[in-house]
């Protein structure tokens, strides 16, 4: 499970051709879902017990054929024709990209226009620009030209420099990439060519450990069987080797000798499905089909193969690797959404201010209508020319309009544009700290925390729901064979084997000892049995282990050790379950030694035996089983099948041994309730006619050009029947370190944890217990139904039960756990029952969904997301979690065993589930607190400045004169006050990490939106009003009727507001680092310096004003008075609230400082007794 990279659709899905789920097709998922959601489009419910990821290899691609090509065979229009070794001909008709890649966005020429275009996509910049343009109109010129353009150009230049640098780095890596060299067949010999010069149709030779320059169809390899091993780490992050095959027809030919190769490959147009490929090759008139196992992709590395020859089919930006190269998803944080609402209020406020000013101006003009012509300071008429004309007067209405527009220009920073820039800087800083956090570094995968999306850092502090995948997320996805049931007998007393005993299952080969790399617990009884071949039991055991060793797609590799005489055998495969099974088989003496496409060699109890692989029906999520047809050494032909219990039980011939089937089923049940992953294994001997029939249809199907997959599936279904049950295996998927503790903390913090898994109900429940999600005190509600009506009934019953429980037990309501399976969800999601499910689930403290398909996972997330305001977080590691990760407010990818698809779709990626705890409780909390404070502070900071301008305007007959110089108004949000907010936004910590981790409940502050809400916004605005009035009126009244000039008073106001704003910030800083000191006091000093510099310019009217006014004592008295007078109310309220209504954070902070918590409260950690009744 958790592995299928493909989302299965039913027939109607073929309407959407080429639909594949991969890293960047998130959009299509949702759109797709809505399209097909009406019916039961999700055919695939329980995702395979097989646990194998076979979907990853051939069959996946094949699956995609179902709806990409099988119904729509490659026709001339949709196909790309590649003439092998004839690039000219190949390229002549089609527009085929060369192999040079360009990830850089700009060239030197296009940089300016394109970059500007991209920057102006943001609304904020447009606002800036419009204001600047308005200001350029002569009637409206409020600021000097330079001053008005400065902020915009500053921001544009900074962003452009950042973009240019990033682009330069991309160009540089492109150049390195493009100039790597490869061997290309030219005129019958291989020549070195640069990667960028390779074109489609050319034959390229790649040596071992080299990376592939483009997507190529494999023609031949150094192995006679035509096999090549590739590593796809760069493509999907999977480090195990995958096998690719050259077709025998091409493998045989020596291309260097052939004069003229007239082969033609007809393949799909470039697409981004890395697991699918559909083509055929015409060799000398013979059609041979090609599939995903015949293509090797750019970005992969050739391993364990000396060389490989391939013909380039997709190059450059058309390679699947490049097509999959998509950026991080863009989401907008909750806080930012809220902030935009507040910004809307601020805009209304701004418009109100402007309206007031223009209205008053209109009244003033009316009142003084008769006096305007002569009034010394108005002089409507221009008498200097012969004719007396109006001078800059356009009529009453126009004047009002102009004043309105001018006031918008003057009060523009009421909308805190700089806030967007500050927020981005702060997020970068926060991301820096998250990435660098040692406690979120995963040693085992050597991976740091990754911030892929920079926009939603603060959402991490408000999570209410966590949706978690199970396999690979809660568990390690490292499978361990635990027990087996063979022939109806349970062998589950395995114990670890010491090194001495290990020798028993090592294998002597050419004076060398081969030994499996991994140790497996061995059941002694079974071990003895496996050696006795003759008993009835022994034969069954033998067959069972042969099936384990053979029925898979594992490739054995030998690895050198320090001891030259001992070699380790390592099983490389795509499914950890299969690996575990093969290691288990090896431990019992059935060691897989060699695998080619034609045969396998298994060392059975020291005896090397060769099995011919006559056919392999790979795993697909429809059948949920795989089978292999082996020609055994004893000349019999047998089909071995392994698969999920549900799918296997339907094909087992129960009549043979009903008791055994029954007892096996009982074992299966007990295994899965222990949390083990179970598989059933069976075989059947084929008689000659059966085999012949199968062989002919198999060959027909596998070379079919149309509907190959469907045909193969049909063939498989025909052969996989009347299977003789051999036994069952139980594989343990260990819980990751720290998972129970992490879940416990999350739940203590009031976060609802939901587990969505493809596993069976029993497995899911047992994992629920072992991860402490479920406890014995909970009442479980289980819903697994197969029809809509029964679903409705169960839901209603459950709701009644809920009500009863909540009314029955007073006080300590017993907790409810809801367990629901995918089959029921099919009938519930997207129907009217959804509402009931929501009501029910919101009453339950734990929800476990088992056997859910990827799209259902997204549907469950949507169920909560659409109905509540609560923040959702989805965490998963596999491709099947992608849709859920993209749907949730915050998506987290675990960079684990299962490739990188989840990571690519996620907003954040990390190595272990337990990192969720520091991520949410520490970083999320900090991010949220910091960002909320910064937003409120920025609102205040800009509004207080605007209001001071506004009050002054009331004393200038409403004509928008500013006492504060243009330059100071512009520099105010750029230099005077910008740095401290960013520094505080990045560094301030309300509580230490230790406290936050110790008391998960502190996380509730973010969930309850305590640091940013409408109330706080209003309080802030009231405070702003008071502070602006204080800062304005103190100088106004102190200087009323004196001979003070505009510039001096303006300087006083500038300095007063900057000092006030900085001390306001200083009052709220909880942790003073030297950086904070430097930023706050430094910027205050910088303001003084700037004001001085501005006042030394003799061309400005305010020349020397600062020095004059600063030499009077009244100036300093005013400054002190303003600062104290403005901040006293805030200080009083703050003291009062902190003392009388302390919130949790405040109490914890005091405790942190005075150390009471540690001493007095070491007993059960102050845990919530409601959530965790004592279990003893």
């Amino acid at each position: 499970m958790d592995s299928n990279s493909q989302i299965e659709m039913n027939e109607n899905s073929c309407k959407v051709p080429d639909f594949t789920l991969n890293t960047s097709s998130g959009r299509s998922i949702s759109s797709f879902q809505s399209k097909t959601s009406g019916g039961h489009s999700i055919k695939e419910v329980g995702f395979t017990e097989l646990g194998s990821k076979p979907v990853r290899h051939g069959s996946t691609g094949a699956d995609s054929e179902v709806f990409s090509s099988s119904y729509r065979e490659i026709n001339e229009d949709d196909a790309r024709l590649v003439y092998v070794n004839d690039p000219e001909k190949t390229n002549e008709k089609f527009e085929i990209a060369g192999n040079s890649i360009r990830t850089g966005k700009y060239s030197i020429l296009t940089f300016l226009p394109r970059n500007l275009f991209e920057q102006f996509h943001r609304l904020a910049y447009i606002y800036f620009l419009v204001i600047a343009i308005l200001n350029q109109l002569p009637q409206l010129a409020v600021f000097g030209r330079g001053a008005s353009l400065l902020p915009l150009s500053f921001v544009l230049v900074v962003t452009a420099i950042k973009d240019a640098y990033e682009d330069y780095r991309r160009h540089r890596s492109d150049k390195i990439e493009n100039n790597r060299s490869a061997w290309v067949l030219v005129n019958q010999q291989f020549q070195q060519k640069k990667w960028k010069d390779i074109s489609v149709g050319e034959i390229v030779k790649v040596s071992g450990n080299e990376s592939l320059p483009c997507d190529m169809v494999l023609l031949s390899t150094s192995e006679t069987t035509g096999v090549a091993y590739i590593q796809t780490t760069n493509l999907d992050g999977e480090s195990n080797l995958k096998t690719r095959y050259a077709k025998q027809e091409t493998q045989m030919r020596n291309l260097e000798d052939e004069e003229k190769i007239s082969w033609l490959i007809k393949c799909e147009k470039p697409n981004r499905n890395i697991y699918g490929f559909q083509a055929n090759i015409n060799i000398d008139g013979k059609q041979i089909s090609l599939g995903p196992s015949n293509i090797i992709l750019r970005g992969c590395e050739l391993k364990n193969t000396d060389w490989a020859l391939g013909v380039a089919v997709y190059a450059g930006r058309e390679t699947k690797a490049m097509l999959n190269n998509s950026g991080a998803p863009s989401k907008r944080s909750r806080l930012e959404t809220r902030m935009n609402r507040e910004i809307f209020f601020l805009s209304i406020f701004l418009v109100t201010l402007c309206a007031v000013v223009s209205f008053c101006h209109g009244v003033w003009l009316r009142k003084h209508e008769d006096e305007l012509d002569m009034m010394q300071f108005y002089r409507r008429k221009d008498y200097s020319e012969g004719e007396v004309e109006n001078y800059e007067y356009y009529g009453w209405g126009m004047e009002i309009l102009f004043v309105f527009l001018m006031s918008i220009i003057v009060f523009q920073i009421m909308i805190p544009i700089s806030l967007y820039i500050s927020m981005e800087l702060v997020r970068v800083g926060q991301a820096y700290f998250m990435i660098r956090d040692n406690q979120m570094f995963d040693e085992s995968s050597n991976s740091r925390f990754q911030c892929r999306s920079l926009n939603i850092n603060e959402d991490l502090g408000q999570i209410k729901y966590v949706f978690s995948d199970k396999t690979g997320t809660l568990t390690e996805n490292k499978m361990e064979f635990q027990c087996a049931s063979i022939g109806g007998l349970d062998y589950s007393n395995g114990k670890a084997i010491t090194d001495n005993e290990q020798a028993e299952y090592s294998v002597q080969a050419k004076e060398m000892v081969l030994r499996p790399k991994m140790k497996v617990k061995v059941d002694q009884e079974l071990l003895t049995l496996s050696k006795s071949k003759n008993s009835d039991k022994g034969r069954q055991v033998h067959d069972f282990f042969v099936a384990l060793a053979a029925c898979n797609t594992i490739v054995p590799l030998t690895v050198e050790t320090s001891d030259p005489a001992i070699k380790l055998i390592e099983y490389q495969g795509e499914s950890p379950d299969e690996q575990a099974l093969v290691y288990a088989a090896a431990a019992y003496g059935f060691m897989l030694i060699e695998r080619t496409s034609g045969h396998i060699v298994v060392e059975i109890q020291g005896e090397r035996q060769r099995f011919n692989v006559l056919g392999l029906h790979e795993f697909d999520s429809d059948r949920k089983r795989m089978s292999v047809i082996l020609g055994c050494p004893d000349k019999t032909v047998k089909v071995f099948v392994k698969g999920a219990d549900t799918s296997m039980l339907s094909v087992i011939n129960k009549s043979l041994n009903l008791n055994m089937v029954k007892s096996t089923e009982a074992h299966l049940h007990s295994y899965s309730s222990k949390g083990l992953r179970t598989l059933l294994i069976g075989n059947r001997e084929l008689n000659t006619s059966e085999f012949g029939q199968w062989q002919s249809s198999y060959e027909l199907a596998s070379t079919a050009l149309m509907g190959r997959v469907a045909l193969l599936r049909k063939v498989a279904n025909n052969i996989e029947k009347n299977i003789n049950l051999l036994g069952a295996s139980g594989i343990e998927d260990k819980l990751q370190q720290g998972v129970p503790e992490a879940i416990f903390s999350l739940r203590t913090a009031g976060i609802k944890v939901w587990i969505l898994t493809g596993d069976k109900q029993e497995t899911a429940i047992s994992i629920g217990y072992s991860s402490k999600l479920l406890t014995n005190t909970m009442s479980q509600i289980v819903i697994n139904n197969n029809s809509k009506d029964s679903c409705r009934k169960s839901l209603e019953d459950a709701l009644v039960l809920c009500k009863k429980l909540s009314t029955d037990s007073d006080g300590e309501a017993s907790q409810l756990a809801l367990i629901i399976d995918g089959a029921s969800l099919v009938y519930i999601l997207d129907t009217e029952l959804e509402e009931q499910l929501f009501v029910l689930s919101s009453k339950c403290s734990v929800v476990l969904c088992c056997r859910v398909a990827p799209l259902q996972k997204a549907g469950i997330v949507a169920l909560i997301k659409n109905r509540t305001d609560d923040m959702t977080l989805a965490i998963g590691d596999g491709a099947n979690d992608v849709s859920m990760i993209q749907r949730a407010d915050v998506g987290i990818g675990i960079s684990g065993q299962e490739g990188r698809q989840a990571v690519m779709a996620s907003d954040f990626a990390m190595g272990q589930f337990r990192f969720l705890v520091p991520l949410l409780f520490v970083h999320g909390h900090w991010n949220y607190q910091r960002m909320s404070y910064m937003i409120l502070y920025n609102f205040y900071r800009n509004a207080v400045f605007v209001l001071i301008l506004f009050w002054y305007v009331l004393f200038t007959s409403f004509t928008l004169t500013t006492a504060i110089t243009d330059w100071s108004s512009v520099l105010y949000s750029v230099i005077y006050t910008a740095i401290p907010t960013v520094i505080v936004g990045v560094l301030d910590k309300d509580l230490s990490r230790t406290t936050l981790l110790k008391y998960p409940q502190l996380y509730g502050a973010g969930q309850r939106q305590e640091s940013y809400n409408g109330k706080l916004f209003c309080v802030t605005i009231m405070d702003t009003l008071w502070q602006s009035i204080a800062a304005f009126t103190v100088p106004l009244l102190a200087y009323w009727g004196s001979n003070v000039d505009t510039s001096s008073l303006g300087d006083l106001w500038t300095l007063a507001v900057v000092i006030m704003v900085n001390i306001h910030l200083a009052m709220d800083v909880t942790r003073w680092y030297w950086i904070t000191h430097a930023a706050i006091w430094g910027s205050t000093i910088a303001t003084f310096l700037c004001v001085m510099v501005i006042d030394t310019l003799p061309t400005l009217p305010g020349h020397w004003a600062f020095f004059h006014i600063a030499s009077t004592k009244l100036f300093w008295v005013c400054l002190l008075g303003i600062t104290v007078g403005a901040l006293v109310p805030r200080f009083v309220v703050k003291c009062f609230v902190q003392y009388y209504r302390p919130n949790d954070i405040q109490v914890a902070r005091e405790a942190e400082k005075f150390g009471n918590l540690r001493d007095s409260q070491d007993e059960p950690q102050g845990m919530n007794p409601i959530f965790y009744p004592p279990r003893r």
Binding site: M374, Q376, F377, Y378, R379, Y383, S384, E392, R436, D437, N438, F441, D442, E443, S444, E476, K478, M479, E480, A742, Q912, F915, V917, F955, L987, K989, L997, K998, Y999, Q1001, V1034, L1037, A1038, G1041, S1042, N1043, V1044, D1045, T1046, L1049, R1071, W1072, Y1073, P1098, T1099, L1100, H1103, K1113, V1117, V1124, F1131, V1132, C1135, Y1140, P1142, D1144, V1147, A1151, F1154, N1156
Partner: protein
């Protein structure tokens, strides 16, 4: 919680990888900065701090308030409005007509000194309702032109008083054009002149750097409409101190401008006769004109506001200090007491 334990690869299958030499661990380098563990000061508003802050503020503010109030009270100020009185009673119905006419506008007023005034006594004229900060007005000047004769033609911002015909007005613009032109002469009751020193009434920085030593007025007040005073064209702008003072535009619609200084002491009860020329037209917009004689203190002119404000804030803070002392005594709360944590509080009694 668990996060303090170093992450390690779990045992069992796969641990074999861990033994492989780790080529380049990406483990972030430890530093106190990146782990956000820099040493920091964590101030908390304890009762002690809060009360001392309030007390400190009140101990600073109350003395300053008292001193300011005394300083303001010490200032002796004579304010005399004359805009109506100086219009002959016959013309009071048409003040604008009178002021625009060529009649003699000499007007004699008498002032009585209420208290001893020690020199220097500043002579101001005060205008009310005159918006020297009006946007049209403040922009109508050319600072370039004032500084150097080469820039005489830089009159772009000066309209409607930029040029007469084709020649530039120096100094151009509405501000200069509307230069205040009432004049005052003081004689004491016994007939002796009280000299007014009009030197050094403007800012030194303005004289030295803003108004050119070699820029002479030209074309000034040659238009159809005379706004105010004329300038002596033989005196450079840097010495036209009335102009310099006038061109430092006032911040507020009620303002004073320095006219000169009286450098003799005046005794209480002295009667001063003021001979003034009531030339300036404030009648067209109902502006008022006042003559002000004032001494100064360390805080400037007569203004009780600062003193009162400081006393208020200081008193309030003292009061708040007492309130907080009472609060802490009556309803003490142990800081950091975990029973105040929301999840420890009784769910019922919030």
């Amino acid at each position: 919680m668990n996060s303090n334990t170093p992450s390690s690869s779990a045992g069992g299958p796969g641990s074999a990888d861990a033994t492989a030499p780790r080529r380049n661990s990406k483990r972030p380098k430890y530093s106190r900065f990146t782990q956000q563990e820099l040493p920091a000061c964590k101030p908390i508003l304890t009762p002690k701090w809060v009360i001392s802050t309030f007390l400190l503020v009140s101990f600073i503010f109350i003395p300053i308030g008292i001193v300011s109030l005394f300083a303001s009270r010490d200032v002796v100020e004579i304010v005399h409005g004359y805009e109506t009185e100086c219009i002959p009673s016959g013309s009071r119905n048409d003040k604008v007509g009178f002021i625009q006419s060529d009649q003699d506008k000499t007007c004699i007023r008498t002032l009585t000194v209420p208290k001893d005034m020690s020199q220097p006594i500043y002579v101001y004229y005060q205008l009310d309702n005159f918006y020297q900060n009006h946007r049209r007005y403040v922009r109508s000047r050319s600072d370039q032109q004032l500084r150097s004769p080469e820039n005489a033609r830089e009159t772009g911002s000066c309209s409607p008083e930029d040029t007469v015909g084709d020649t530039a007005i120096v100094p151009c613009g509405l501000i200069a054009w509307s230069l205040f032109n009432d004049t005052y002469h003081f004689t004491s009751n016994n007939g002796g002149q009280i000299p007014i020193n009009k030197r050094g009434i403007s800012w030194q920085s303005d004289r030295e750097r803003k108004f050119g030593r070699n820029v002479y007025p030209s074309n000034f007040q040659n238009g159809t409409l005379i706004g105010g005073a004329r300038l002596n064209e033989s005196i450079p702008l840097s010495e036209q101190e009335d102009l310099i003072v006038w061109m430092r535009t006032a911040a507020l619609p009620t303002f004073r401008k320095l006219y000169g200084k009286i450098e003799v002491n005046l005794r209480q009860g002295d009667v001063i006769n003021v001979t003034l020329q009531n030339n300036y037209n404030t009648y067209s917009f109902n502006g008022r004109k006042k003559l002000v004689l004032s001494t100064t203190s360390w805080l400037g002119g007569k203004n009780d506001f600062v003193g009162i404000a400081y006393l208020t804030v200081g008193g309030l803070c003292f009061f708040l200090a007492i309130v907080f002392v009472l609060i802490y005594l009556i309803k003490p709360r142990q800081l950091g007491d975990p029973s105040y944590l929301s999840w420890n509080r009784n769910p019922g009694g919030h």
